[in-house]
Point group: D2
């Protein structure tokens, strides 16, 4: 039974492949927990605390996020981005509604139907765009045929955008405003999948407020795990109406943790003294260096601009073979052209990975 | 905004009441994480690890549980008992099925509709019994009117029992076998809500195998958080058919954690060297002592036999007033008679709580 | 395969028993379609008509109901009361909400989970009352523990009352106002299951407006099939917000019939020239006569006042044996005392049934 | 309120447009009920009958369909194709499963999310093919990435094909066998949306058995309304396991009609003496004539072969303008090239429509 996990039979090759990923650029989820966050978890273990959010850490969450976002905020901690996205979209999308998203969206491709589950039957409508971004024009086209006189269509309810995008690009504030403004004008609510929220934020040099409610974003999946927490993410909303829709859905899905202090302490430490921003800046800078190194030392071509901590590049098979010999493995991606690969950098990667890559490429 | 949590407005009184719970017998969820489990979490933080269960800790889970349960087992880690129960019951109950449970069941009273949510519309059918246990006779009576010729009824699909029960009593192995056997004979699957699994196990002096699959239990919510983990529970099944039904539901609900090692390491440490059993034995013994102390020093009457780590007792108002003066506060419970109160002891309570109670009662 | 229906295996005895029901008081659903309504169906068959409600009959529905209810009304035709109740309650109850209803409610006991299905996971909370009616006091008691500070409860969302009730009694206008007023004061919406709407209406001598929106009812399941249509019922709402919630749910459940004219024509004929009221008056009067005949000619005792077209009575076994010999069969009902039976009269029953009963009882 | 229907506000123009459709080729739903079926409905109105399928007509349904399909069949009557498709697919697709279908499928484009609703959260995966048919190769490509080792995907559960297709083409028996065989080999169940089942059947000259279970179809939406019934369709399954899954879902959705005889009598009359086949043959033949007339008398080009009762053709704007002057209006369709139009013929269209079209085109 050694290679079974959650009922999935892993082949030997697959298990090995995964192990080898440990040493590579395959995922920002491969990093551990940031020491300061781990310390915060340990620190809150002293003694007893009221369960279900009655503890001192949990009670600070709303106030702390409200400060960070410069707006009264309602925070619902969860343990995965999948749960955050499911809950967030269920708070703004009825079971008979559609969610417009990019055809490469994580909610569409990698969350096993969580939005459909959390909303109880909604539909994701995939939209195409080369830069992996949605726009008013794309949305306008998609909305054709929906509306109160349509007899046979679901309700056009919400739009979900990913910031940074699934291809590592970042919506500008103007793009966000323009998209959210148009969405609102058509009666849609706006969700931001912020799995890499901090990476986008520092890339823009914007404030959390500017990148969310000031731009028209209604509901945020606030990612933190890829950037240093253990398993703490949050749904953040700014309108009490959405908070009310989330309050019970959050509990019944199983995220009102009895020992909530261990989640709250992670999020507080994450936000404290700008740790989250420093981590993201580091990861983004590392991605820039790795991309430069690839281009300088091989016939690699960037598929998308490197604007956050992800690199999408066309890397020739011979280069990939070389890297593999050096145990540098990362995932091949389906793309418009062959040989598309993704490299992701995290807060935990240091200069040694650049050196290692350079050394490999120079052989 | 200081007293808001997850959109819930806490009154000052309520917030204060919660704080005071810290020092009392109010909940086994008030305890922190057992030091050995916290150590295990810290230990697994070294370096990178494959995400989504590809790490070394997660890959051991099925094998470890299979050893403990003496049967091939499929383990689905989750972060709350609410999620465990929802997923577990959804794996054996279709959206048009009913779950028979006790009228005091946690799934009915304290999980905000998680079973209805996870199953997509099933119904909980509450059954009455004084000892807080289900039996073949009670089930037979409840099944009247269901079946393939019934025109207007849901499908009778499953029965959920809680071990230890919501009133601190413990099903004997004979009672489990008899109930599960009857349920199976009527086409129902059997779920065990094991929020206090270990407490029941040591109370019976039984093996995990005897208390589950050997007795006819199909699906187990394996609780651990109340007994020492940080937020690690698991759905455990013994039949690959149920595992297949859980595989994707577990993911889409948001419990395939990216950094799964931090969950797996908790569960492994919990089971290692019998830590879980030692913790449970301690909590049960403490409950016995507290109950004895109450009876010996006040006009308290036990409402149910104290068989695990929960005490349900009728405590006179004057005794309660005394205890309150000593900051010993616990919850009043709705019961057949007034003045029903619950005290819960955990692995983390030591002799000082007995001394403190005795001192208070002697005034 | 002769005794199979919809996958249900009927025993020979059961099939025979059903056939014998034809000549009895067992159900107001055993009656056929009223001749004037059948005529209307036939009349609308001439020629082609736009599908999906674009026909002349369907386009009159809202206006006609608005006249009858003296308020702008939105009408959603369906083919069963089960669908009407499911849709109606789903328009006012989120998937995480509870519906408070009487423990004898049809939605709880005879609709196979339609409310849970249509709402996607809501819960019916059964309340007890001897007269089969809900009241502010009963509701107040049930609402204890719900609310924005409750951590583990579903949302208290709606109350569903049945008019005429499942025991043949009828809420007075004062009782309706009082119940709905209290429900609104606690944030609940109010649904009326009007499977026997017309029977209650004529019993009260009230207007449709008085018995619905003027009393505070938000959403109505407007029953008609038991009172003369073939399979035409409707959800009727007075608030465009609920109409918007129903628009797509009605379609996706499969009730936006392509040849909608055949439904609309039934409802129009039903309402035309007071046919529905005349039918209901007749059925109620027949129930009164049958009840009087039973009391006068046997040791029968009424279990509930006969206020509409249903009789619930304690009938001695020897009387039942006599009636059975005369092929007069009706259902035994579970009740607080043994020997509870239900007789239902419909628009289609004439004096001959009274004569027949009297003749049987006189032997 | 005159132009409101089910909460939808119709513009005057839209309402007028709909009315004018009456005289055209816009929909086979515009036809009324076939006289023999209307007669059967009227005939079954005599007297009382047991409700909920206990009547003589309903009890014949399974046996009659079993004869027609040469296999024990379980029949679940419903009132729309939307309900049939939703129920049928929910019987073979779990809430966490995907349904593979053509990107032009009616279930995807015109049923407002009924499959998502009935299954409680499944996902439709649209596949592309020029001839509007699915094939093993298309399916194989789509299945890439699914399976027991996939961590982030839904379960690949079923495939839904439409026969005749949404573009009027018809799968050959070989194509059906090949597609269903491949689907089964990959663990998928097969659903046939038979909204125009009879039209396809007579086009192939096949038996119902050959076109369904002999070819590997598991679940059939048996359409009849477009071909002469009032509102009677059925889900037909051949395996008791699927019947068991449908039994309660059929009831809870609201399709266990109390006066079921009026549905059963339609279906019996439809199948009797081959009425359904005669109607379909006529509609197909009329489509052929209309297509020929269009080609012969205008610069019209067929977009798809005319194999059943639907014509998809590229018709020049000037021709459309001419037809409009003669009140011959039908819908423009989105297509790979502009000017795609659909004409549908029904059992109720006679030679006069050909003459009328020819006369118009000759001007």
């Amino acid at each position: 039974m050694g290679y079974l996990f959650c009922g999935r039979a892993l082949s030997y090759g697959e298990a090995k492949a995964r192990a080898s990923l440990v040493f590579t650029f395959a995922s920002d989820n491969a990093a551990g927990v940031h020491p300061r966050i781990l310390q915060a978890i340990n620190a809150c273990n002293a003694g007893f605390a009221p369960p279900y959010g009655g503890d001192d850490w949990s009670k600070k969450l709303n106030a702390t996020f409200s400060d960070v976002f410069e707006h009264p905020a309602f925070v619902f901690p969860v343990s995965t981005g999948t749960a955050a996205n499911g809950l967030a979209l269920a708070s703004i999308t009825p079971s008979y509604g559609t969610v417009f998203c990019h055809s490469l969206a994580h909610i569409l491709n990698s969350e096993a139907g969580s939005v459909e589950f959390y909303s109880g039957g909604s539909r994701l409508v995939p939209l195409q765009d080369e830069a992996c971004k949605l726009s008013p024009a794309i949305l306008e086209n998609a909305l054709d045929g929906y509306g109160p006189t349509a007899l046979h269509q679901m309700k056009a309810s919400s739009v979900s955008l990913t910031q940074a995008t699934e291809r590592g690009t970042v919506y500008t504030l103007e793009e966000l405003k323009s998209l959210a403004g148009y969405a609102h004008s058509r009666g849609l609510k706006v969700h931001m999948d912020g799995a890499r929220f901090a990476n986008a934020l520092v890339a823009l040099g914007a404030t959390p407020a500017e990148m969310t409610w000031k731009a028209g974003v209604d509901v945020v999946s606030f990612g933190a795990t890829k950037n240093g927490t253990m398993m703490a993410e949050a749904v953040v909303v700014f309108d009490p109406v959405f908070a009310e829709a989330l309050r019970i859905q959050h509990k019944r899905a199983g995220f009102l943790h009895s020992k909530m202090r261990y989640f709250a302490s992670q999020l507080l430490a994450y936000l404290e003294d700008g740790l989250w921003l420093a981590n993201a800046r580091h990861a983004n800078a590392m991605a820039r260096k790795i991309a430069d190194c690839l281009i300088a030392n091989s016939a690699t071509e960037l598929a998308y601009p490197v604007e956050s901590n992800q690199i999408f590049a066309y890397i020739p098979p011979e280069t990939m073979a070389t890297l593999k010999r050096f145990d540098i493995v990362f995932r091949t991606w389906a793309g418009p052209k062959p040989n598309l690969h993704r490299l992701v950098l995290s807060y935990a990667d240091d200069e040694s990975v650049v050196n290692r890559l350079r050394a490999a490429l120079k052989t």
